[in-house]
Symmetry: C3
C-alpha cells in the first residue's frame, strides 16, 4: 500500500510541524531505502521544510510572508471568499505543494534541524489533507 | 514506458490548465496506485497547482507576480533577450520546476479545486515541453 | 543502491552548478529510464534549476532575491546566528528543498539551457549535503 492519506489539524494561520505523522507512516510501511513524497490537496495551504530548533525563525518567516502578501491589497479582485483567501493562494504558489524526501535506514533522510511543516494560510484553520506516497 | 513528453501550447503570458493532458497519460499508462512527476524543461516558464474554480484567483495571482517582478527594473543586467526575459527567470525560480502528484484508484489524487497549470512567463508564448514520469 | 549522498562545496553566497555531480551518479547507477530526486538537508541553502548559458541571468537572480529579502530588516527577531541567517531561511522557503528530474536514455532529461544549482544563502559557505534518490 504505497499511498496513504494524512489528516493534519491546523488551529489557525501559521506553520505546524507534522514530521511525527510522516515518520510514523514510514515506520509502518517497513521500507528501509526509498523515497517519500508528500502532496497537499489544497490551494490555500502549503508545505515547507524549515528549522525546527528556534521558534523565532518560524515566527519571523510567517511575519515576513504576511508582510509580502498582505490582506486588503487593492490589486485583488478575488475577495468573495474572505480577505485572507487571495493572499492564501499567492502564498501557496510561492511555497511547495509537493515535497520529496529520501528514506535511508528506515528513516526520513532529514537534516539535523529540519522539520516538515504544513503552512496554513487561512486565518481560521481546520483539517487539511496530505497524500503520502512511499516507493522504492 | 514510465516517461513521456507532453507538448503544451501557451498563446501568451499567464497560467494555462493542462490537467486533462496529464490525466490522459495516467489513464493510458494503466497504473492504479503510484506517483506522477512533472518536470518542465524551461527556465522562463514553470509549474503550479492552483484553484480551478474562480478565474479571478488565477488573474490576481498573475497580476500580483507581475507587480512583484516587473519588467524594466534597473537591477537587471541580463536584458539582451528582451525586457520580459529576466523577470521570467526570477518568476520561474519562485515557483516550481517539478511537481509530484500521487495516483490513487487510477487517477491523480488532486484536491477538489486543484488544477495543474503551466505558467508561461514570456509575453509571447509558444510550445513548452513537460516531461512526465509515472512510477509505482 | 538507490540513495546516495553528495557533498557540494559552496565557497560563498550564490548559485553553484553541480549538474556534473548528479549526472555522474546517474551514469554510475546504470539506470536508463526513471526518476532522479534531489533533497537538500539544510534550511539556509536550497535547490534551483536555472539557465546555465549567460552568467548575467544567475547574477541578476541573486541580486534580486537579496533585495527582496535584505539583511538587517527590523522585522527579524531571529538574529543570534548572524545577520544573514534569517534571510537565508526565508530564501530557502521561497525556492526548492527537493527537485525531481526524469531520466531518459541514461541521462537527466534537462532542457538545453538548464543547470542544477545549489543556492547558498549564507555569506560564508561551506559543505552542503544533497541526498539523491534514483528509481525506476
Amino acid at each position: 500500500m504505497p499511498v496513504k492519506t494524512l489528516n493534519v489539524h491546523t488551529p489557525r494561520q501559521g506553520l505546524f510541524d507534522f514530521t511525527p505523522q510522516v515518520a510514523g507512516y514510514i515506520h509502518e510501511s517497513g521500507i528501509s531505502e526509498g523515497l517519500c513524497t508528500l502532496f497537499i490537496q489544497h490551494t490555500s495551504a502549503s508545505l515547507v521544510i524549515q528549522e525546527n530548533a528556534d521558534p523565532s525563525a518560524k515566527r519571523d518567516l510567517e511575519r515576513w510572508l504576511n508582510r509580502l502578501v498582505p490582506e486588503g491589497d487593492s490589486l485583488y479582485s478575488h475577495t468573495l471568499e474572505g480577505a485572507d483567501d487571495m493572499p492564501a493562494h499567492i502564498k501557496a504558489a510561492l511555497t511547495a505543494t509537493s515535497l520529496s524526501i529520501p528514506i535511508l535506514n528506515g528513516q526520513l533522510a532529514l537534516g539535523t534541524w529540519q522539520g516538515i511543516y504544513l503552512w496554513e494560510h487561512r486565518r481560521q484553520g481546520g483539517w487539511r489533507t496530505v497524500v503520502v506516497h512511499v516507493g522504492n
